[in-house]
Symmetry: C2
Subunit: 342 residues, 2 copies
DNA sequence: CTGAAAGCGCTAACAC
DNA sequence: GTGTTAGCGCTTTCAG
């Protein structure tokens, strides 16, 4: 009986020892090319799948994961940071440990250098950063050194990273436009956009999706050129204040990135918060408050906890050749209104 | 070193053998009451946590899970059914197996009898059914016989079930009202409601949440008395057709349960689909189609895959005393508009 | 009532 | 290059 095929079965069928099969499976050196092929053939033929629990139990060393997150005072990033610490007990059970490092993500040079420093210091890196040739090269270099790289929140698609964990940002932008347009309703007027930077891939993608839907479905609303506030409240507040002054008929505002506290302040000080449909991202405590008071009309969210756990699972799976359930790892776009706050 | 405490450590500290500790941990008979207490004290003092991987590896027998789902032609239920089959490989790795049984969930007597038949035939039952004293008693009886019971989609809160897996249905109803109200915008007129049955707890809760928000936030819209269509398209279609005839000024429609194909047909045949904001539940292929063509304006969804996987994890965790991450098991309310369809 | 001992399927050190 | 072997932490017989 026993539908399951074990390492033992493979070893016997291939006429080699357990250790040799193990070496082949892990791509470790010290096996003749011919033997490698033979073993691989048997593995394929028998449909062997390693038992993750047994592997975990036998493994002595812990896998080291490093999360590289943006430095600075971004509430959402702090939430990610906290979630990394929160999974620690679970990771320990999986013979793994995670550390968080903060790096200047807005500078390609600094980020690339930071990544280079990770070589030999970890088994997997989870990186939230900008899509730039230097960064891409740094990621590819890590991968070439056998380090598993997972991108988080903002992808670097042309790199050799093994996975991306985050929402579909084009769709997120489309969703924002859809809600904003429908909430504005029959009124008409200009719509503003505030973003961190066009260099951030997630922001650029959201912008793209947003403009797409606005143009096709809410063409009567004039979309203004985006304002770039570098995700900092101190910078977004005066910019939005100026925008409000310049556009007295503003009916909607989409904030693509962070710096929402500044935007909220500007809206409130203008006394026009009620008449402007404001859609923003990430359900931070402030965004939640803004939703409750009616200043914000919808918040589009990605669940930091799910993202961190998913990144860990994917990194560990890549390290151990475990199976992943793609459905389970898809990060969904959450829409929050005042009435469905969790 | 070794921060982790093993069974071995507990056994030594308590001055007994591995087997005895194991018996105590699993509440198996054949241990003197005094010994039980001593061991439990040591377990508590040392903060011992069993290693789930090791347990899994050593276990010979498989845990049997049974899903009890409503009989009939409900697309969402079919999706749950499919998902149960989809987790089979994963369950096998966890030394478990799941079977699906369909029962007449609308009849308390039939459902209770069905549940009674599960005794001795499984280790855990995942039940989607109605909240009724008979059903509650049947669940409590299973629990008394050492079977883990998890409720799915619709809860039976006063029973001794170990967990509920599903969305917060009051919040779901509130969300529906919020979207419907905002989408209707400045227009005014009556709003209809179609539900399966008031006896279904999830439906009753959604209705409650919906009426709550409509009354407080969209008081200018008159909410009509709910129509009960027993979740069957054949029954909902004529009922909705009649409603449309009776209420020529209808501006919104909330369908709380299933039977959406009938509702869609009635809306389309009336030629007024464009002017009526329709919000429904569960992203089935038809609902998706309705969203794309604009007949439906929003779909509130619970992810069948997540629910099934969560139910499995919770049932297995309850069986083996494993830790659960509550955040990970919270089923979220998904909002789908045409522009964020996955 | 309690304990000793044989694995579960894999990894990793060490021997050949 | 390849094989042998000793565990990982738990469950489960089978003896006492």
């Amino acid at each position: 009986m026993s539908g399951r095929i074990s390492l033992h079965d493979v070893a016997r069928a291939a006429g080699v020892s357990l250790a040799t099969v193990d070496r082949v499976l892990h791509g470790r050196p010290g096996v003749r090319a011919r033997t490698v092929e033979q073993v691989q053939a048997v593995v394929a033929r028998l449909g062997y799948r390693p038992d993750p629990a047994a592997a975990r139990l036998a493994r002595k060393s812990r896998s080291r994961l490093v999360f590289v997150l943006p430095a600075g005072t971004n509430t959402f990033v702090d939430m990610l940071d906290k979630q990394v610490h929160a999974v620690a007990p679970w990771l320990a059970e999986q013979r793994a440990a995670a550390a968080v490092q903060r790096a200047d993500v807005f500078s390609p040079v600094a980020l690339a250098r930071h990544l280079a420093g990770l070589r030999e210091r970890c088994d997997a890196a989870v990186v939230m950063g900008l899509d730039h040739p230097l960064v891409r090269a740094a990621i590819d270099d890590l991968v070439a050194h056998g380090i598993v790289v997972v991108t988080l929140v903002s992808d670097v698609p042309s790199s050799r990273r093994s996975r991306f964990v985050g929402i579909d940002n084009v769709t997120a932008g489309r969703t924002a436009a859809s809600l904003l347009g429908r909430f504005v309703g029959a009124r008409t007027g200009p719509v503003g956009i505030v973003m961190g930077s066009r260099a951030l891939r997630d922001h650029a993608e959201r912008l793209f999706g947003f403009e797409q839907v606005m143009a096709t479905e809410h063409a009567h609303l004039r979309v203004l050129a985006p304002i770039e506030g570098h995700d900092l409240s101190q910078r977004t507040e005066p910019l939005v204040a100026k925008l409000l002054q310049r556009e007295p008929g503003l009916v909607g505002l989409y904030s693509i990135g962070a710096g929402n506290r500044g935007i909220q302040a500007a809206l409130e000080k203008s006394g026009r918060a009620e008449h402007i449909v404001w859609v923003c991202h990430e359900l931070t405590p402030h965004a939640r408050q803004a939703l409750l008071t009616g200043v914000a009309d919808a918040v589009i969210n990605q669940d930091a906890g799910h993202e961190v756990r998913s990144a860990c699972r994917l990194a560990l799976a890549a390290l151990s050749g475990e199976r992943v359930l793609p459905d389970q790892e898809r990060i969904r776009i959450d829409i929050f209104l005042r009435d469905n706050l969790p």
